[in-house]
Symmetry: C2
Subunit: 235 residues, 2 copies
Amino acid sequence: MLQLEVKIAAAKVAKYATGESGDTLEVIERPRGGLSLVLADGQRSGRAAKAISNIVARKAVALLAEGVRDGAVARAAHDYLRAIRGGKVSATLSILSLDLVTETIVISRNSHCPAIVVQGDTLLMLDEPSQPVGIHTWTKPLITELPLVPETYVVLYTDGLMHAGRRYGAQLDVPALVRTLLHEEGGAAQGVACDQGRPDDDISVVAVTASLAPADADVVRRLSIDFPVRVKRGC
Amino acid sequence: MLQLEVKIAAAKVAKYATGESGDTLEVIERPRGGLSLVLADGQRSGRAAKAISNIVARKAVALLAEGVRDGAVARAAHDYLRAIRGGKVSATLSILSLDLVTETIVISRNSHCPAIVVQGDTLLMLDEPSQPVGIHTWTKPLITELPLVPETYVVLYTDGLMHAGRRYGAQLDVPALVRTLLHEEGGAAQGVACDQGRPDDDISVVAVTASLAPADADVVRRLSIDFPVRVKRGC
């Protein structure tokens, strides 16, 4: 048996001056072991987008928590959004699962945004075209299954990151950024520059890393969340 | 408007030599703003306990994600567990919500474990007796609502922590520990000593802190997870 440390880091920021991000990011335990990460980006921005991505993400989360396989979860999220919104609104949906039964990382994409995978010296762009959920008939996800081995890195993001800087003629090269960050301490989803501090769209980034645990590692699962809020009521 | 930083730190460890913790801890976004934390501790330990806490937690998470109010969520989780397991198994359930509509922290307890609240100089033990879910008729939660103001600290835990050290005649004084940790940098849920490294029960601890954001704080939400895993397949 090999002891691995899987670390997940995610960051989410709203489009400048909208307050609420239209992206929804959720993590849920898999009942047979492991966890799943769900990232949905609703069409439009602000409250309207949030309502759409919430529908998709919570359907996915509810099914994943019941042990439903990932491919069926993505299909169900599509069918559900299409049924209740009449095929008129779309969302992108990415699911990343750490499946301890198969000992794999499973990536399901219904998104035009690539997923970036680094294993050892190989950088792989998962960028085959896949349809967003909610619009067409029989939409299904593109699924990639990777062995859960040390030195595996996966980065997912929504199109706010893909297009970041476009307005300023300085589009971000995400794969190049990932290569750079991998060589920096803790260089995960945090600290990504975005549109000169005024994001042009909702941006979410998720990074997952699997590495050999040090000999003195414990088996405690840890979760930490930073959640900035604005309140009217004061001190 | 006041900018606050809400931080959540949680740690979860399985009973020694069982592998799988019987506790389930989930976090979900509230559709109208904010997030909810669900902590369920299933009767018994290992896989059996996990199956029970999973039923309770995923029912709660599914409803919270739909915007159902916390009191109704706890009642529904109870009714559901009782219905499908015939009133024969119990679980404790705690829900902590950061509700941005009411600007409050809402704590719903169906647990014999206290919640500890510190606001300013006041330490408050929420320890009125409340029933676990799954067994009796019409079980409902005890609900406490706190204003979301700076310098608020809330700690929740399962009974593995309450009873930690009991076997070694050195029971942990959790409220005293909380007081001590509050005065230490980042002294949240992390690093709690447990039964000489061999936990006698599943242990989960959640700490939530709300404080004034520094002037240069960003509005990026961040999530980070450490998830140690054992795999058969190797390098």
